[in-house]
Amino acid sequence: MLTQIGQTVTCWNCGKSPEEVHFCSHCESLQPPTTDYFEYFGLPRKLQIDLGALEQSFYRLSRRLHPDVYFRRPERERQLAVDATAWLNDAYRTLKDPVARGEYLLDLYGMKKSEQKSSNVPPELLEEVFDLNMALEEIRTGDDSVRPQLIEAKAKFENLLEEVDHSLEAGFGEWDRTESRDALEKIYSVLNRRNYIRNLLRDVNAELV
């Protein structure tokens, strides 16, 4: 079962247009998921989300869609419940995490997360990353004298990560106000930078343990 956004859908049971996201408004039968994650939760495509309300919706929808509720129904409906709940769970997991939420929105607009990992150094970090990689190299060869330098670098990159999270929040706000391509581009570059810093921190932590 695959989602095809924008296609005309008909109810598998009565053949009419179901008109609603989860259940057919004519025959009340459960429908396979055909919307994006935002719409599945009845939300507009905004990035600043009330997490408490999201959780309440998740619980409410789980009670209506979960396979346990369809256990004594025919096989076809049981399978639909599995598909619907898998979609609901995937959507909830994505939307409740700001980074996953941002990446998902970019994906909806054809901006897939960059596949490159370490080659794509954000220019403003070039110098520090170079020094850091040298230090990492040395500690790997057994030179423990660079340890203080690594600890310092760790603190620095942790601060940077916090800054990046603030920029992300700002990017989210800009998107919610303007829904502009500019905002998407900004989020895209912030997320790339965040990903890069996180990978660096992971390498540093691995050596410091």
């Binding site: 695959l2 789980s62 346990d68 509720v69 256990f71 898998a86 995937d90």
Partner: protein
């Protein structure tokens, strides 16, 4: 019914209108030891009789088979040194164990335990029971879950759902109290350790994170103590009995008794006598705790990881619940209290709570518990092997299940017809460090230049935590065939063959039970009739009546040993008819009117 299929012990429970209850066997015992043995007559038996055989004929018995579920021989080499099992060579993808003249896989052995529980439940309800919820350790991987499901099918059960043990326990706890808040469930059983952190909200049980070790439990404590005692015995007796399976099993029982005593007493005497020799050793609690501290310590890292993954802090946890027999050990309780900074709960029997919870889940599926809903997670990340053996993660651990991911695959060579996808489970970055789950072969791809085909593959982890894979050709929209080659475990065909084999056994079980019940009825009326023959009334009835009773009595005695419950029942009825007048006379005339309609079994 709900089944707790444990490493050491198993239990079965059902929902009695609003409350789960444990089902006992004919002798009133709740616990069925997870031991399977081959009787001297060459029949497979499970539970208590098998546990007795383990002592006298250890080479014909298997215990703790749960540790071998979903494993290959390479996974358990260390472990097998401690167990007396005879593992058959060439057990790479499925372990095969020799038991008497049979060679059996772990699912078939577990199926014997399940069959015993099924019989107990059928004895309780007086009708065939085929649907069950079975619990598994939360940290079980796909192959271990699949093996458990296979065991259920082989036992003739329709496995409605596999439920994680700590989650099941939380259902049993949550039933009474309608709690809100965050609960940690610490489950240290016979062979496995699980920690789960749940959020409770108006009847929704949402698992936030789970972690554990499927190779950590009471068995490890037993093995450690056995090891020490064996060395002592070797010094004291001048004799190494570690290769003597009977001796080791007796020592094992003695060690377990001492361990249990140490949970309530400040010291215990480990008392072992064998072949006329004695070994006694006092163990006090400080020594015991020193010995097992390392084992208990190993539960802490999974706890920390679970708290981290749940994105909470220890102080956010409102309650801690203890599950599993090993949590009776005071040091375990202290360790948990220090870790979670809270006194743990243990109001419910830690050995019964999982089975009770399984029954609650069965009630949820049956629509009896409509307000309760369990949202569980997958314990391990699921990924596929990419270039250079690097794992690309598709579904992360602690994702709520059902969970899914889709990925598009293509070909690397012109005209390529097959694409092989290697799926692994685990947290590490290299395929070799993860657990191989299966290879999925996308077959019959229409020949096209390299990179042109687009096959969309959907990975779905269902509510049992088991992976399902489907594929579709993006261009044609047609379903693409996928052949599954599990890395560990049985193929569908093998399970089918085992089911066929076991249906014969199930029918034999059912007939056997009916014969037993008919014989019980026969026993009652035979005893009553024999007693009545000494009664004064025996001489008050006519000669013909006495002859008829004697004939019916003899016919029933003859039918008694036939394995035919219908024959036994019809003879019971004949004797009942023949003794009707006698029974009436035996009643005191004063109470005769009050007791009208009673038969000989009630007036004798």
């Amino acid at each position: 019914m709900g089944i707790d299929l444990g490493t050491t012990n198993s239990l079965v429970a059902y929902m009695d209108s609003v409350r789960p209850k444990i089902i006992t066997d004919a002798d009133g015992e709740k616990i069925v030891p997870s031991v399977v043995a081959m009787t001297p007559e060459g029949e497979l038996t499970a539970g208590r009789p098998a546990a007795d055989l383990l002592l006298s004929r250890p080479e014909r018995a298997v215990y703790s088979v749960k540790r071998l579920m979903g494993k290959g021989i390479g996974d358990v080499t260390e472990e097998l040194k401690l167990f007396p099992f005879q593992v058959v060579e060439g057990s790479e993808s499925v372990i095969r164990i020799r038991l008497g003249d049979r060679i059996l896989t772990p699912p078939e052995i577990s199926a014997q335990v399940l069959r015993r529980l099924k019989l107990n439940a059928e004895g309780h309800f007086g009708q065939p029971i085929t649907k069950a919820v079975i619990t598994v350790p939360a940290y079980f991987n796909d192959a271990q879950r699949q093996a458990t499901k296979d065991a259920g099918r082989i036992a003739g059960l329709d496995v409605l759902r596999l439920v994680n043990e700590p989650t099941a326990a939380s259902l049993a706890y949550g039933l009474d109290k309608r709690k809100q808040g965050i609960v940690a469930v610490y489950d240290l059983g016979g062979g496995t350790f699980d920690i789960s952190i749940l959020k409770l909200h108006d009847g929704i049980f949402e698992v936030l994170a789970t972690n554990g070790d499927t190779h950590l439990g009471g068995d490890d404590i037993d093995n450690l103590l056995i090891h020490i005692a064996l060395e002592d015995v070797a010094t004291e007796w001048g004799e190494d009995i570690s290769r003597d399976a009977v001796g080791v099993q007796h020592l094992r029982r003695a060690v377990i008794e001492a361990k249990h005593a140490l949970s309530t007493e400040p010291e215990a005497l480990l008392r072992f006598s064998y072949r006329g020799k004695q070994y006694n050793r006092h163990i006090d609690r400080p020594l015991f705790e020193k010995l097992i501290a390392g084992i208990i310590e190993r539960t802490l890292e999974p706890c920390r990881q679970a708290v981290l993954d749940a994105k909470i802090e220890v102080r956010h946890i409102d309650e801690v619940v203890l599950v599993g027999g090993s949590t009776r050990i005071p040091l375990v309780r202290e360790t948990v209290q220090v870790m979670f900074q809270k006194k743990p709960h243990a109001e419910l029997n830690p050995e019964e709570v999982v089975a009770l919870g399984a029954a609650v889940q069965a009630g949820i599926l049956a629509g009896v518990q409509q307000d309760m809903l369990l949202l569980d997670v997958t314990p391990l990340s699921l990924g596929i092997e990419t270039m250079g053996g690097v794992v690309s993660k598709l579904i992360h651990r602690n994702s709520t299940i059902p969970a899914s991911a889709t990925e598009v695959f293509t070909t690397g060579v012109d005209g390529q017809k097959n694409v092989l996808i290697h799926v692994v489970q685990g947290e590490r970055e290299m395929t070799g460090d993860c657990r191989s789950l299966a290879r999925f072969d996308l077959k019959d791809i229409p020949p096209m230049p390299a990179g042109m085909p687009r096959i969309e593959v959907r990975f779905l982890i269902d509510a049992n935590g088991i992976l399902n894979v489907t594929a579709r050709d993006v261009r044609s929209g047609k379903e693409q065939s996928v052949e599954v080659k599990p890395s560990y475990g049985l193929t569908d065909e093998q399970v089918e063959a085992m089911i066929t084999e076991s249906i014969d056994q199930a029918e034999a079980d059912f007939r056997q039970r009916q014969v037993v019940e008919a014989r019980l009825e026969a026993d009652a009326i035979l005893a009553a009739t024999e007693k009545a023959m000494d009664h004064d009334a025996w001489f008050e009835i006519s000669e013909e009546e006495r002859a008829a009773i004697k004939t019916a009595l003899n016919e029933l005695r003859m039918a008694y040993y036939a394995d035919d419950h219908l024959l036994i029942r019809s003879q019971v009825e004949k004797l009942n008819q023949a003794t009707f007048h006698l029974a009436e006379l035996m009643m005191d005339t004063a109470v005769r009117s009050a007791l009208q309609g009673k038969d000989i079994r009630e007036v004798g």
